[in-house]
């Protein structure tokens, strides 16, 4: 099954002939569902633009009377998150960016190299290696989280020692570095899968010809494979970006307080049990947290869907 079939709106089939009544029913149902899918986000946006008394006193479906952007300013720079002293979610947003960029780049590059090896430089047992990497995509992370906590604890202690000795921990024990490492490792299965399936149909003759011309492994990879990989690079980057940005389990386990990524901070902000619940600020923060992946989806929707399909259906 290929995603091009999905994006092909004009199919070669005869137009379905329906009576007017049937067509009205079809459109009504489709629009009804569209409304249901849009409503939660719509309510979120409207709530974030209302003063608090209008949120608690008014109807959530009503448009804002006294339009205000204060909740957005609050969420970004002033709201208190958990017991932290830092104000607003901007620091956590930055944490997520610092985590997501290296993690996406490294896991994508490794995936491309792995895919290249697994298709064009096959060795006995290549399918077993691939199968084992593929299964790694689907494990519940609960089954690795305790050993990971033990190991990262050790690494952190090593980092402290190094800092005492040399004045720098060299990143050992740094939560952001840890999360980058984790996301690279547990993203490898998917990135390898994407590139393997893409390179599988890439003409081997081109690789052979380049070899005869004396090109080495990395030369072929850089000059022939990569320039021809743009679509799958976009798919992989989008897929990894969305997954890593949206991760909560690892972020909440291995980062705490000011080093938390965005999703963890949002959860802490929304579930603070002290004081009045500032729904409007919470919703503004949620939209800010969702914005990067939503923008990626709007800009690269086609590739986004392709990645999802490739991640689910391997055939």
């Amino acid at each position: 099954m290929s995603a091009t079939q999905l994006t092909r709106t004009v199919s070669n089939r005869e137009p379905a002939r329906h009576s007017t009544v049937t067509r009205v029913v079809i459109y009504t149902l489709l629009l009804l569902f569209a409304v249901v899918y849009v409503l939660p986000l719509g309510v979120m946006v409207m709530t974030s633009l209302k003063p608090l008394d209008e949120v608690t006193g008014g109807n959530m479906f009503a448009l804002p009377h006294a339009l205000t952007f204060d909740p957005w300013v609050q969420a970004w720079g002033e709201a208190r998150i958990g017991v932290s002293d830092t104000a607003g979610i901007n620091g956590y947003f930055l944490n997520s960016i610092k985590m997501v960029i290296p993690a996406v780049l490294i896991s994508t590059l490794l995936g491309a190299l792995n895919g290249f090896v697994l298709t064009k430089w096959r060795f006995p047992g290549h399918n077993l290696v691939f199968g084992m990497m593929l299964f790694a995509c689907f494990i519940p992370f609960q089954s690795v989280i305790i050993p990971m906590a033990v190991i990262l604890g050790q690494v952190g202690m090593l980092g402290n020692r190094l800092r005492d000795l040399t004045g720098s921990s060299f990143g050992l024990g740094d939560p952001i570095v840890n999360l980058v490492l984790i996301h690279v490792i547990y993203g490898l299965g998917f990135t390898t899968l994407f590139f393997r399936n893409y390179y599988e149909v890439f003409p081997t003759e081109l690789v052979k010809a380049a070899q005869i011309d004396g090109a080495g492994f990395f030369q072929i990879f850089r000059r022939i494979m990569l320039p021809n990989s743009t679509p799958i690079l976009i798919v992989t980057v989008i897929y990894q970006f969305t997954n890593i940005w949206n991760d909560f389990l690892f972020g909440s386990t291995f980062a705490a307080g000011d080093t938390s990524p965005m999703t963890v901070a949002l959860n802490n902000l929304v579930n603070t049990s002290t004081g009045i619940v500032e729904y409007n600020t919470n919703m503004a923060a949620a939209i800010i947290a969702a914005a990067p992946t939503l923008i990626v989806y709007i800009v690269g929707g086609r590739y986004f869907v392709r990645g999802l399909m490739a991640g689910a259906v391997k055939g």
């Binding site: 430089w121 084992m132 519940p140 919703m283």
Partner: protein, 315 residues
């Protein structure tokens, strides 16, 4: 003239020459090795480690004191402890409710939307992204949105009251015995678009000749779908059920965000059970045992699926 014996693609029995050529031939495997080693250690090694911990009496810290299958016996007994229900019993019951509703409704809605969209309708390019955008959101954002939407004080119940239907009552999101249904609603909203995309790709792949033939034979549209097209979607059903089931078992963030950190363990799932027993109740051995159960369930579903998918490709 360069030699062409630098290891040919997809072949490993090329003649060996100098150390340099040998190294050249090994290079692809050397490139793949770090990734594979990472997966071996951090996935398979860690899984084994967790498996080992499930036979120890680890509390707050990992211990090596073996206690045999005592933890498994404990969890087996908890499975049937209903008065008051143990957390594990609640987790299993909730898993069945949540998993059943999530998989069932995602399949139903996904197929229904895909069939409706496949009727040569106008505006598919606008409707399809609307059904799919929740996938770009993190579970935390989705949960935050639905928690607000379903909150009886400011959300749906209040809005309906404002419109005049004052006897309308919907407080599931704050009612411990009904919370898990709200988690299911949010989950279905998030994932049904994905299933729709899978079915749509499947429908677009159906040979138009088959449909024409059915119509010439006088079959109604309904009969064509029921007897011919939907049965042809069997592989899509299989993929979707497997992917959805594995997602349901891994669901974690959604529970926390929809319910507001799962008060009193009312919406407990195996994933939250594992986390709270390991990290807050200091019963790491029990946590590991539940993680092993999750892993075993997912492996039982995914391994045969991945195996058949990989085999299909080869033939």
């Amino acid at each position: 003239m360069k030699t062409i014996a630098v290891g040919s693609p997809s072949r490993t029995d090329a003649p060996s020459g100098s150390l340099r050529t040998k190294l050249q031939m090994m290079l692809p495997r050397i490139v793949l090795a770090p990734s594979f080693a990472l997966v071996l250690v951090f996935v398979y090694g860690f899984n084994l480690w967790t498996f080992f911990l499930s036979f120890t009496n680890s509390k707050a810290f990992a211990s090596t004191h073996l206690v045999g299958i005592a933890n498994y016996v404990k969890m087996w007994n908890w499975t049937f402890e209903t008065d008051p229900p143990s957390n594990w019993h609640t987790a299993l019951v909730n898993m069945v409710i949540f998993g059943g509703l999530y998989v069932g409704f995602c399949l139903f809605l996904g197929l229904a939307l895909a069939i409706l969209l496949d009727q040569k309708i106008r505006g598919e390019g606008i409707l399809r992204p609307i059904y799919l955008y929740p996938l770009a959101l993190s579970f935390i954002v989705t949960g935050t949105a639905w928690k607000l939407f379903l909150d009886p004080r400011i959300g749906l119940e209040k809005a309906v009251h404002d419109w005049g239907w004052t006897s309308f009552h919907f407080d599931w999101v704050v009612n411990p015995s009904k919370m898990i249904y709200c988690v299911a609603i949010a989950g279905i909203w998030q994932s049904s678009g994905f299933v729709m995309a899978m079915f749509l790709a499947g429908l677009r792949g159906v040979d138009s000749e088959i449909i024409k033939a059915a119509q010439i034979d006088g079959a109604t549209t309904y009969a064509t779908y029921r007897r011919i097209i939907i049965p042809m979607m069997r592989p899509v059903f299989l993929s979707a059920i497997i992917i959805l089931t594995h997602l349901a078992i891994k669901s974690y963030d959604l529970v926390l965000s929809v319910t507001g950190k799962n008060p009193g363990g009312a919406a407990e799932l195996p994933s939250t059970f594992m986390y709270s027993f390991t990290f807050t109740r200091n019963q790491m051995a029990v946590g590991s045992t539940s993680a092993v159960m999750m892993l075993a369930t997912i492996a039982a579903i995914m391994v045969p699926y991945l195996y058949s998918e990989l085999r299909q490709k080869r033939t």
